[in-house]
Subunit: 134 residues, 2 copies
């Protein structure tokens, strides 16, 4: 799912066996109570995924935030609202964990994604700045 | 420092005693190996602060990212490069911890901040979307 994406196809390695870096990241995510990898399923098939990170900050009077990242739906299931279900699940989960804010960044090249998130109630109030280190 | 800021003045509570929510957030940050609160000091005085969160993701072949947030310099020390020192320290720290990316968001109202980060080498490739929950 990560590789089957206009941007992801350039940066992922979908091989058998899966590169160990993916396994290690999966283990680090599942071992951390402030990180959750959420999957959407249709029967036994995984058809969507997202990661949510919960972070305590001293800003906003010591408020917790939820950061959503890596939202993907399998290509055969797109247009059926799986992404909407994932994000709405994430928003509810963030509320349940006491977060005051849900945030995410989306590549300016993904114009459809921006409209999708705005329809769900997100406001593009911030610039999302990135610096690649390697 | 958090309250002494055009946006922060509306959302922080700088009181004695400090509201317990700040203390709890500080304890949560310092207890988490993937969160660091970095201060810049002049002798015994704290003159700058930033928070760095290190997050493992399955995207980018299971790459770790560093997210910088809450960068503030005390008003009497602004224009002296403290913010630059903080961010450059953060970039080096992210490299030392093996992160492939440093990221942050900045409110579109903070035009000076955007130019500041771009001068340091960040690219505004993403939209930063937020949803307030309360």
């Amino acid at each position: 799912m990560l590789a089957d994406d206009a941007l992801g196809s350039k940066r992922e390695r979908y091989e058998q066996p899966l590169p160990e870096s993916y396994i290690k990241a999966f283990q680090a995510i599942t071992a951390d109570p402030n990180n959750e990898l959420i999957v959407a399923c249709n029967g036994n098939d995984i058809i969507g995924v997202q990661q949510i990170t919960y972070t305590p900050y001293i800003t906003y009077q010591g408020g917790w935030r939820a950061t959503i990242e890596g939202v993907r739906t399998i290509s055969s299931e797109r247009g059926k609202g799986i992404g909407t279900d994932l994000i709405q699940w994430g928003i509810q989960r963030a509320k349940d964990r006491g977060c005051h804010l849900v945030q995410l960044t989306t590549d300016k090249k993904r114009e459809d994604a921006l409209r999708f998130y705005e329809r769900l109630g997100f406001k593009a109030t911030h610039e999302g700045l990135k610096m690649k280190l390697y």
